[in-house]
Amino acid sequence: MTGMTAAGAAISFEGVGKAFDGPGGAWIAALQDVTLQVEPGAICGIIGRSGAGKSTLLRMVNGLERPTAGTVTVAGHDVGRAGGAALRAIRREVGMIFQHFNLLASRTVAGNIALPLEIAGTPADPIRARVADLIARVGLDGLAGRYPAELSGGQKQRVGIARALATSPKVLLSDEATSALDPETTQTVLRLLADINRELGLTILLITHEMAVVRDIASHMAVIEGGRIVESGPTYDIFTRPTHLTTRSFLGGVTGLTLPAFIAGKMLDHRPDGPSEEVIRVTFAGTHATDPMLSKLATELGIASNILAGAIEEVGPHPFGNLLISVDAARGAEARAYLEQHGLLTEVLGHVR
């Protein structure tokens, strides 16, 4: 994501801002100075809490929202300044799926998938062939004549995906597409998106408030907070070396990073007087094993460590682990230096008496 030139990117935000008219003539900034490039074929996940501005950012890519500052480019087109027929032509190159699916209740599965093609003026025969292909592609065989009310949530989202792919777009936007689905269905829908990304080389930009979604399919990610991108880069790098507080709190839910309550309640920012323990987060990437490292710590330096929490995760094909340990504060610096020396990342989270 970083280091890409805007010209080569599938989607590019350059200094993008969005301000709304607030009450009393005040301007309310929804987005400020957002610069982000999504390279062709990437799956970029934007994560943020509700109201952080992620939806506004996503909707700028197909011109549903217009920036009040900066430039949004999709496949070389300046979306923010396009209007009328030019904007509609860009929109046909950008598919979009929605949290609540937004399917027409009055049209069958086939009818819903055909809609973007009808809108584009495609003749009936090619539409029929294309719709049949798409139905098979998203695994809805035999359901062409059903109405959305007769489908499950996962099936509805598959219709949404097929509809978004109908005009063979280069970019797919996903607006919380799995937020209304149960965890199991979420996995099957994410797998479908990942397959499509791989097979069609489609660039996917998705927004979500669930770190697990980003972990499972995003090659790149950006964290948005208060209308600004606070952290962005390859997902693996951010999962293993998060720098921003917001990122860490999102990671807490998916990486076993949360301290047990009985320790979290006693945590101090500064080392207290007298004997205390230092709480350290140890991150190991790739296939590094920590068990030998912690036992080596004990045998070689004589530093005992308590394991408080831990988990091994996969980001794409790469495993990485997080351990929360505590060691005698007097020897904390020594222990950290030793672990760092052996290729692990450490971070002091606090102290407990």
Partner: protein, 224 residues
């Protein structure tokens, strides 16, 4: 009841059906587009033209405020200009249509406003023109609501058509007044009322049947 009276009832029923059918068709031809426009032309909407929206809204409200019997008499010059005469069944169609247009427009507007805004967004994201969004999404999705609205309009027009006897419009209502009331023939009055009840019942049932055919939403989502 004499064969003569039966013939009168038969003729009057046909006249009523003719007036109601003609004014429904004409009222829909003007009321449907007007309703669609009212539903899509507020500030920031598809056909955003807030000024025209307000003016048309005022005209619609004003027309709907005038009691029908007053409207019938008030527009006699217009009726004469259009039909060439101000009395008779054809003449009666003019005030009936004029009353139907704003009524149908409001019903259509309400039905269209019921359509989920997410569908408009999805259609915009597909690159649809405002006209495509209206025809392929809004009107189509609102079909069950529009059908029920038109059913309501037809039932109201059957009621209104009873008043056009005032300008020689004839029909069932006029027959009831002239024979049943003024000539003290209660059997005519009863027959007229029974025929009207059957007509309204038929229209309502057919309307609901068509609306249900259009309605593909899950049963729990049906707001009617």
């Amino acid at each position: 009841m004499s064969a003569n009276l039966m013939w009168l009832l038969y003729e009057a029923t046909l006249q009523t059906l003719y007036m109601v059918a003609a004014s429904t068709l004409l009222g829909t031809a003007f009321g449907l587009p007007l309703g669609v426009f009212l539903a899509t032309s507020q500030q920031g909407e598809l056909l955003s033209s807030p000024w025209l929206n307000k003016v048309l809204g005022l005209v619609v409200n004003a027309t709907r405020s005038v009691p029908f019997i007053i409207l019938v008499v008030a527009i006699i010059p217009l009726t004469r200009a259009i039909v060439g005469t101000s009395i008779g069944t054809n003449a009666a169609i003019v005030p009936l249509t004029l009353a139907a247009i704003p009524f149908i427009a409001r019903l259509v507007e309400n039905a269209i406003r019921e359509v989920d805004a997410g569908l408009i967004e999805a259609a915009r994201a597909m690159g649809a023109t405002p006209m495509q969004i209206i025809t392929k999404v809004l009107v189509r999705e609102a079909r069950p609501g529009i059908t029920l609205g038109l059913t309501l309009a037809v039932v109201s027009l059957i009621g209104y058509s009873a008043m056009v006897g005032a300008v020689g419009g004839e029909g069932l209502g006029d027959l009831g007044i002239r024979y049943g009331y003024q000539r003290f023939m209660p059997e005519v009055m009863v027959s007229v009322v029974v025929i009207l009840i059957v007509l309204v019942q038929l229209v309502q049932s057919i309307g609901e049947w068509i609306a249900a055919r259009f309605d593909k939403r899950a049963p729990r989502n049906r707001g009617h």
